[in-house]
Symmetry: C4
Subunit: 493 residues, 4 copies
Amino acid sequence: MAKVFDASEVAKHNTPESCWVIVEQDGKKNVWDVTSFLPSHPGGSKIILRMAGTDCTEEFDPIHPSGTLEDNLALEALLGTVDIATLPRLKKDEEKPVIEGPPPMEQLLNLDEIEQAATKQISKRAWAYYYSAGDDLISKRFNGSVYQQILLRPRVFVDCTKCDLTTTLLGHKVGLPIFVSPAAMARLAHPDGEHGIARGISEFAGMQIVSNNASMTPEQIVEGSAPGQIFGWQIYVQNERKKSEAMLARINKMSDKYKFICLTLDAPVPGKRELDEKSNFESAAPIASALKTTDEPVRPGGGGVGQQLFWGTASDLTWKTALPWLAKHTSLPIVLKGIQTHEDAYLAMQFTPQVKAILLSNHGGRALDTAPPAVHTLLEIRKYCPEVLNRIEVWVDGGIRRGTDVVKALCLGATAVGVGRAALFGLGAGGAEGVRRTFEILEAETATCMKLLGAAKVSDLGPKFINSRAVERDIYDGHAGLEKLGLWVQAKL
Amino acid sequence: MAKVFDASEVAKHNTPESCWVIVEQDGKKNVWDVTSFLPSHPGGSKIILRMAGTDCTEEFDPIHPSGTLEDNLALEALLGTVDIATLPRLKKDEEKPVIEGPPPMEQLLNLDEIEQAATKQISKRAWAYYYSAGDDLISKRFNGSVYQQILLRPRVFVDCTKCDLTTTLLGHKVGLPIFVSPAAMARLAHPDGEHGIARGISEFAGMQIVSNNASMTPEQIVEGSAPGQIFGWQIYVQNERKKSEAMLARINKMSDKYKFICLTLDAPVPGKRELDEKSNFESAAPIASALKTTDEPVRPGGGGVGQQLFWGTASDLTWKTALPWLAKHTSLPIVLKGIQTHEDAYLAMQFTPQVKAILLSNHGGRALDTAPPAVHTLLEIRKYCPEVLNRIEVWVDGGIRRGTDVVKALCLGATAVGVGRAALFGLGAGGAEGVRRTFEILEAETATCMKLLGAAKVSDLGPKFINSRAVERDIYDGHAGLEKLGLWVQAKL
Amino acid sequence: MAKVFDASEVAKHNTPESCWVIVEQDGKKNVWDVTSFLPSHPGGSKIILRMAGTDCTEEFDPIHPSGTLEDNLALEALLGTVDIATLPRLKKDEEKPVIEGPPPMEQLLNLDEIEQAATKQISKRAWAYYYSAGDDLISKRFNGSVYQQILLRPRVFVDCTKCDLTTTLLGHKVGLPIFVSPAAMARLAHPDGEHGIARGISEFAGMQIVSNNASMTPEQIVEGSAPGQIFGWQIYVQNERKKSEAMLARINKMSDKYKFICLTLDAPVPGKRELDEKSNFESAAPIASALKTTDEPVRPGGGGVGQQLFWGTASDLTWKTALPWLAKHTSLPIVLKGIQTHEDAYLAMQFTPQVKAILLSNHGGRALDTAPPAVHTLLEIRKYCPEVLNRIEVWVDGGIRRGTDVVKALCLGATAVGVGRAALFGLGAGGAEGVRRTFEILEAETATCMKLLGAAKVSDLGPKFINSRAVERDIYDGHAGLEKLGLWVQAKL
Amino acid sequence: MAKVFDASEVAKHNTPESCWVIVEQDGKKNVWDVTSFLPSHPGGSKIILRMAGTDCTEEFDPIHPSGTLEDNLALEALLGTVDIATLPRLKKDEEKPVIEGPPPMEQLLNLDEIEQAATKQISKRAWAYYYSAGDDLISKRFNGSVYQQILLRPRVFVDCTKCDLTTTLLGHKVGLPIFVSPAAMARLAHPDGEHGIARGISEFAGMQIVSNNASMTPEQIVEGSAPGQIFGWQIYVQNERKKSEAMLARINKMSDKYKFICLTLDAPVPGKRELDEKSNFESAAPIASALKTTDEPVRPGGGGVGQQLFWGTASDLTWKTALPWLAKHTSLPIVLKGIQTHEDAYLAMQFTPQVKAILLSNHGGRALDTAPPAVHTLLEIRKYCPEVLNRIEVWVDGGIRRGTDVVKALCLGATAVGVGRAALFGLGAGGAEGVRRTFEILEAETATCMKLLGAAKVSDLGPKFINSRAVERDIYDGHAGLEKLGLWVQAKL
């Protein structure tokens, strides 16, 4: 029924006026006319024009969930299929260096080694996207080093034969106080994708917050997950609110799996990730001059996978408007991600019971460089408005590399800690099995740390087990009273 | 009409007793007798004698504004022209390595990359002059690193769809709170020179403070500038006050462009810039022995482009004498550059309305090494005499590399920030277009930072957006009361 | 009488079902059937199966005291001897590179040079076991660097012609305030083993705490020691208490030599020493797949010499149970090793007179990474419960590299300081003579430091001789009152 | 008259029983029988035996003032001369690599470059002796880096056309507030020796403290010095007090030149300078075994030039005995060198008027490692007993590399600053002329710094010109009241 094209004919449609591409879907090489979509492509039209008339499966597939083409184009845009015999042999494919497979996962002893193994397995572009962070990577590095500034205080003569890592998040039991933070584009790392992450953490009864920019559909990701295994869905509200509303409706239907909505606030606009931008830039260079005609200005900070994902994201959310809007479209609890000051933590607390948790995060250092690490925000909260810790759950992410880091965050009052890049690098190193190894390491290190501290269960942990004085003296001290903030919220509601 | 010399005849006049040089001016190779000028040359006679009898256009031109010879020599000193055919082929020229042109400006993603690109384009001597700073470059490096010690505090749920970078300086609207600080000898970097800087920042409605030691005339620099584009003129008061007075008269005439006089106080004598000195030194070496006869002592710190520029600068200025003298010769507002303590900021405030702004600056680390960065002085002012920030504008320069640096300075109370080397390196990397790219990057980074902070316009910025505690604990704490200083000023006036 | 086997026959017994090994004992190559012991081997069965059917003397001997086989196996397990002529020539032996002998000890000027010399002499596996520490080695490095943060305060015009380093530990006179901390497996470093350490320190009248995991028997170690030379015995309480009780009985019998029991509390479970684990891992790799059948899970942190030694160690000790149990089995004074907080120091003090000293230690950084160095704990005690220093002796170990380090610890109130790795590296560098050199250096450096400070004897030392302010500001400040702790102990007893 | 020996005969006397050496003196190759002196040689007998029977001029000369042999041996020990023709051609001499001469002094721009130039010119042994410091060189490095922690505070609008560096030390006018601290063995660096230093600083009217271990006699050093040029004599009191008394008598006679006695207290025993020791060690190695017979124990820290110089130094000086003894033997004012705590500064003040100045010094980091830099002691004095600064002069040395360092010390209250290694490296780089260049650089840098600060003369300098807060927070804070110390002194006298 579908028309079969000769590849040479497809190749002619490589201009802004007529732009066709070939994408492999379900084993077929489909030909799509994407001309009408060019102006509204999140990553700009250039990215598409660069591959106009050719088979772009390799570029397209890992960063678009299935259904993307169908959702954004009319039925008629699917023109037919291409005759495979007429396709040129992919030069790219031939050039690909023979990469040794990953090492046995059990030989990887810590998260640094997993990152190193992944770096060898994944494409340079994927690495650049995952590794990159804002500007000079100061916040990214600080996220990790701040944990090393905190000392532990081991107590002796405590029976720690048994050590129980289970805890409760939003009322749901999880196997360990470590979850997967939303991290986009998992299939860039490995075909197992976000579903592989779900599989990898299932034996630990781990929790996963699925990225708004996942490379698989929310349905695919949770498919076949273990009973009791829980998920959250991250949302970046879109300028076209209807798109977001449709997605919320879709998630609402899977409320046996998706237990909350994670509204991300730390990146109303994308940070400047030069590594990512540069990596994209390099592949774009050869045709840069040809594209001059498209008349899109090249602004600094305008390239990179990260930038494309942000296209269409709303930056006009406010306390007054966003939460009521959400309440209209879902009854799932809300987790606010990206709180970076005690003031905003205090404000968030005013929105219980709709808001049940906040996730202290500087977006892995990928948004605003020199933004504070979550540990700073935790210490600010402890100092200026400790009641927050009693009223809502406080989760943190950023910089977790060791079980001792996990324990330190919990001692400071965090309910749980998230890992983002670590899950992606685990996936890159060995697919679902690499994710499993990542969590196995974190679980063992966390248990060892707790036993050596003399803490038999998560609820035993508290500030008496740490000495955070070296960090405390750097905490913001311009606190000016929070009463007004509270009143302000009352007035809004 | 003018006499035409054979090059071999000119070559004979290569002694302190009779010293001729060839300089290309308006396409002609003029022969000047500079014998009488030798003792009063700012850079010492050696510099000239080294090229006596030859064509020194390449050395002379980039660091002298046009008119320099005419202003300093009698008419008769212009002896005629040289017969070009008789000139030896310049060996230098032949030896010059083929340098690749600059990379496309749009591929340069940040100010470091622009500096790297410029370093490859400009001469070693120009680089040494621009890059160098006092002694061990401690202040230069601290100027930059102090910004990295300050953390940002991003707020969430703020509508930052629009972000307005415009602001007002001395009552004049500018497109962004970033200006060009006075930086000498722009033609060392690129033939576009200071005029190229003016062109490069025009689309941003940027402000430029023209260096007293510009390599173009003040008239040339502002020629053809955009309507509303404003300039300031930097003055180093000369021992021969009449020269300074003449220059002020010249600037007064262009008060549609030049809106203020920037009196520089941070370098009454030149700092010790060893890189610059060494670079000059190397080229001088071959004829060093021959020059022994000139009997000029070689004092440590006595070489370098920087040193030459300082020749004749007055170091006897005082509060009591300098400002009244200025008032006699110009009615333009005065900006005092080089304030490095809160005491002097406080004193400057007493001189309103003549003094309308102060520019906190340690001369880019080029004057006194281990002098404090402007951030320190800002914090001192905030701590000991915050009223200064309300009474006069406080500008800062030194160490700005990122939009986040700009924002941090503004949060601390600065009205605007200046970039000096960054503009020169932009020029070196790509002429006027390189300057444009430099400002484009700074503008984009500044806007991104403000949006991620949740600040929609410049006036929103304030100390609540930053955590400067790590810097505050290093601020001078020997404050002893400022009342006496104020009384002292009253008594003077 | 004993049966003589052909090596090829022994070689057949290389499975979990029948596992024989050859071990040289007293000059004879004995054949042992260790099949029954496989499940209970501290290091797991794999370690043994890897050498099943072969001569494992080289691997077995340096880390097992004599008597280990006899104590753990039935008499019948000793099957006979092997006919040496039938043994294959050891390939390993042939491959061994010719290592130059150690340098003359007198050319080694400090403890770093001794460690370097030892590193060249000992096997990579021994080095990895000694050098390794927990996770990222942060505590290990901090143990050393914290001493460099403390400044000395030399006084002038003090007669220090004579300088007396002798002091008293638990009532026993020792030649210097430096002892050997328990450090396992000395024969990995040198055949002289723990007995060599005893010999090396005898001329200094040094004290030695013998490791629970010594590679020689407690009887062998003290054999022939100098009159008055004293020892302590370290105990890790075993899950099989009877084993520990038997060992205590054995030590009680040598109370002329062993003057106290050192109960180790800082490692109820082993830390994660990746270097050690990795070194073991590498040798295991070739047979890893073959062993999959044994069905032992490979957990992260599950390899390494260190892990094997911990097998069977009790992690259920409490203040309430452990000390009374010890009292039943020995009347020797107890030293509690591994106190890392002032709270536990305060608690320990309540257990006098049974507990006569505490040893502040983070296990050389080998247990919990980012645990505090002993200097921190000392400063905590000084700040919150200085009475501890008067009531019991406070010993410290970890990070001692210089005589100035020794003096600083004593100034802070320590009675004596221990060295662990330093003794082992001394042994590795030159056997007993290397240990002697290590102590000779420490003694000379300590005396020089005291003379330059103006302190003629150990009891002169005190806080006035040091400036520890840079460390003090990092000390834990969450102190919450110790009275309750004291009451709690009263209630327990 | 003197007997002439054949070199082969001298060569036979190479044992402890009969030990002859050849030393060139006044152009003659004298043969000395030093057998009787062996046991009392400061550096031990080995050093001599190593060269027994040979010409040791090259080793002996640079570190012994003329007259050393005559002063220590009987007349008969001078046996005669050697027949030069019979001497073997010195292999050493032939092997000496051709070293390029020093660069033109005027090309050396700062003290680091002078040190680098000297390092190339001088022997490895001399370098090791000069460069070395105690243990890990922590104090040596801290001496320098502490100045970089202090920020300057430049004031504007100050007339600094003229800048006067002259000041007064103990009532004597000097040309600049920088003097030469006692530094031993100048002829190791250059034949000009200590006399060359005197010449090098004469045009600056500089002051020199001559080392007790100078390589020239006190008479030689001051010979021909400029009128008004002043010197001090450093004394290490000898166990044989008579030797010290004789030397004092000798100095008293030159009181037109030597204006004070500098009693050194910071090194009652030598520090452990491993670089120096190792350098000596290497040359000793070849004959080490042969010397075993001499039965001298090789103690750690027992080698090196530094150690030899200390031989015979008294370490039993006390406040009570040393100053009265000195008063008996000289009426020159006393300067106490090596004060490192405010307590001792306070005590010293009690001994006015005999004691007129103290020199805060940690012996260039060469005595006790981790001893505080002079800046710390200055800040302690300012904090706890500022009256000291009014009652006696406080000089400092250690770590001065820049004019800014000089100015910072003066701002903190020092009367003048000393340079030790810098003078020796100046000498090594270019003899007297290198010393002159060193002082020329320091003078120019100091003047530039003062002008940029806005200080026209030395007495203008004070704490308002510096921000030393980063250092102040590390100052000793265990101050316990000084009254008792004062009373104690009263009781003694």
